[in-house]
């Protein structure tokens, strides 16, 4: 096995990890700030993929879909937070958990009613099909695009959280929502926005994953599992943790796929068990949102 082959496999892992990172960052953001464990996060992933298909069907343009999907799914997230989740704040963590759990089944059935139970194909756009030589060999262009887009989004998110006033409120609100309110800030609006961003990221991840795995109603279930495992590995509510753990799980999955393909789905659980044994709070647990 040549070093180049291993490097290429690492790139494959990063591409897979990129999608995981987007998914997990959304989940971690919502948990870190709202302490809501969003069980509908996987369903939002699926909704994103289906809205992607829908918009692509209307416009025939992948790029338009790419812009509309996170906005639309984020918009659904805003409605969900405002109408369903908000009345449950202050009642304990299990209320929003049960609510979003139920919501995930409603969304799943809605998808089945609207688009049927059969899976649908979703191709990468022509501009992103094929492979390019990245110096160590040929690598699928679409996967390269996934890595680049995720990197760009993460940089944007980091700038937003680290440099803007909104970000300051988000960081402070994750630590101490009460003092943020005492200082005159309407934290409910911040929570709304963060829930929207979180679900928008899940929707975007769903659409980006579609060309790799196809689109089917139940696609949200394994996605939710992966996102949970990653946030546990990274540390609940830590964005840096979600990024590192997402890439780690992507890499592990892609390497076990060559050496022991039957275990590739299992690899993330092995990592989770190891992390929980050695560092129960997760790799970056209790370090805060950006710690």
């Amino acid at each position: 096995m040549s070093p180049n082959f291993l490097l290429l496999q690492a790139f494959t892992g990063f591409a897979l990890g990129a999608i995981y990172v987007l998914l997990a960052v959304g989940l971690a953001l919502v948990f870190g700030l709202l302490t809501v464990i969003n069980f509908a996060h996987g369903a939002m992933f699926a909704v994103g993929a289906y809205i992607g298909i829908f918009v692509f069907g209307l416009t025939g343009n992948f790029w338009i879909s790419l812009v509309i999907v996170p906005l639309a799914v984020g918009g659904i997230g805003l409605v969900v937070e405002r109408v369903l989740v908000r009345p449950l704040y202050g009642r304990g963590i299990d209320y929003p958990l049960l609510l979003t759990f139920g919501l995930s089944y409603v969304l799943l059935d809605l998808i089945r009613i609207l688009w049927g139970k059969q899976g649908l194909p979703f191709d990468a756009p022509d501009a992103l099909s094929g492979a390019v030589d990245i110096g160590i060999g040929y690598f699928p262009l679409y996967r390269l695009f996934l890595i680049a887009l995720t990197a760009a989004l993460l940089v944007g998110l980091w700038l937003f959280i680290d440099k803007t006033s909104y970000g300051l409120v988000i960081r402070a609100g994750a630590r101490d929502p009460e003092i943020v309110r005492v200082l005159g800030i309407d934290i409910a609006r911040v929570w709304l926005m963060v829930f929207g961003i979180g679900t928008g990221l899940a929707g975007l991840a769903g659409m980006l994953a579609a060309p790799l795995q196809g689109v089917f109603p139940e696609m949200g279930t394994p996605a939710l599992m992966v996102a949970f495992v990653i946030t546990v590995i990274g540390g609940m509510g830590s964005l840096v943790g979600a990024v590192v753990a997402g890439l780690l799980v992507g890499l592990a999955e892609s390497f076990t796929a060559i050496f022991a393909p039957q275990f590739s789905q299992l690899s993330m659980y092995v990592i989770m068990v190891l992390v929980l044994l050695l560092r129960p709070q997760g790799l970056f647990g209790r370090a805060g949102l950006l710690g």
Binding site: S165, L168, R171, I179, R181, V182, L183, G184, G288
Partner: protein, 235 residues
């Protein structure tokens, strides 16, 4: 009156902690709220700020009944609050904690003016602006909490035991600061364990016991009344 509290009740679960508190604070006054541990001082301020879920009664600020308003709206009306436990946000720098106090209702000019005035009022903070806020000493953290609340130039500043656990030099500095705040036009409602100190700077004071105001009067008169102090203020 700037603040008029009438028949304020508050509950934690089933326990009825405030049982009809009445108090007023006039514009430009310093008023102290004193009483022994567990008397209901903190609960009174938190209820005025909107941080107690179960409460009833009437709280008027400049003629507006604020009891139904959310916390952030009370701040926007001009009520500043420095809570008992300071609530410095760990993970943020001193500067970021101050900025947090300037996000609501403070324009750029006012923010810049406040930062410029900082060296006169809070010299210790100016030297440490980029230090992580949770590495400040207890006294410095308390100063930061006051500065952060002051940054939006509140009309009424409520402080819950600001001198607790702070070395005497800093306490002196802090009480000088309260005098200065008053001269700058800020009204102050103060909770203090150090009764003599508090009465020394106050115009009037209320004594609270078991969730009720049991005594009120001019600060100098209360300062002279050792019997009352003994009865309600010794631990």
């Amino acid at each position: 009156m700037m603040l008029t509290v009438t028949g304020l009740n508050a509950w934690y679960g089933r326990s009825h902690v405030l049982q009809g508190v009445d108090l007023t604070v006039g514009r430009g006054e310093i008023v102290s709220l004193i009483g022994r541990n567990g008397a209901g001082k903190t609960t009174t301020l938190r209820a005025i700020m909107g941080l107690i879920a179960r409460r009833s009664g009437r709280v008027e600020f400049e003629g507006v009944d604020i009891l139904p308003l959310p916390v952030h709206r009370r701040h926007r009306l001009g009520i500043g609050f420095v809570p008992e436990d300071r609530r410095i946000v760990a993970g943020l720098s001193v500067r970021e904690n101050l900025r947090l106090g300037m996000l609501a209702g403070v324009d750029r000019g006012a923010a810049a003016a406040f930062m410029a005035s900082l060296s006169g009022m809070f010299p210790r903070l100016v030297e440490r602006l980029d230090q992580p806020a949770d590495t400040l000493s207890g006294g410095e953290q308390q100063m930061l909490a006051i500065a952060r609340a002051l940054a939006s130039a509140p009309k009424l500043m409520m402080l819950d035991e600001p001198s607790e656990g702070i070395m005497p030099v800093l306490v002196d500095e802090m009480f000088q600061l309260f005098g200065r705040m008053r001269r700058d036009g800020t009204t102050i409602l103060l909770i203090e364990q150090n009764v003599e100190r508090a009465l020394g700077i106050s115009d009037r004071a209320y004594i609270i016991d078991q969730g009720r105001i049991v005594h009120q009067g001019d600060a100098p008169a209360l300062l002279a009344d050792t019997a009352i102090q003994e009865r309600y203020c010794t631990v």
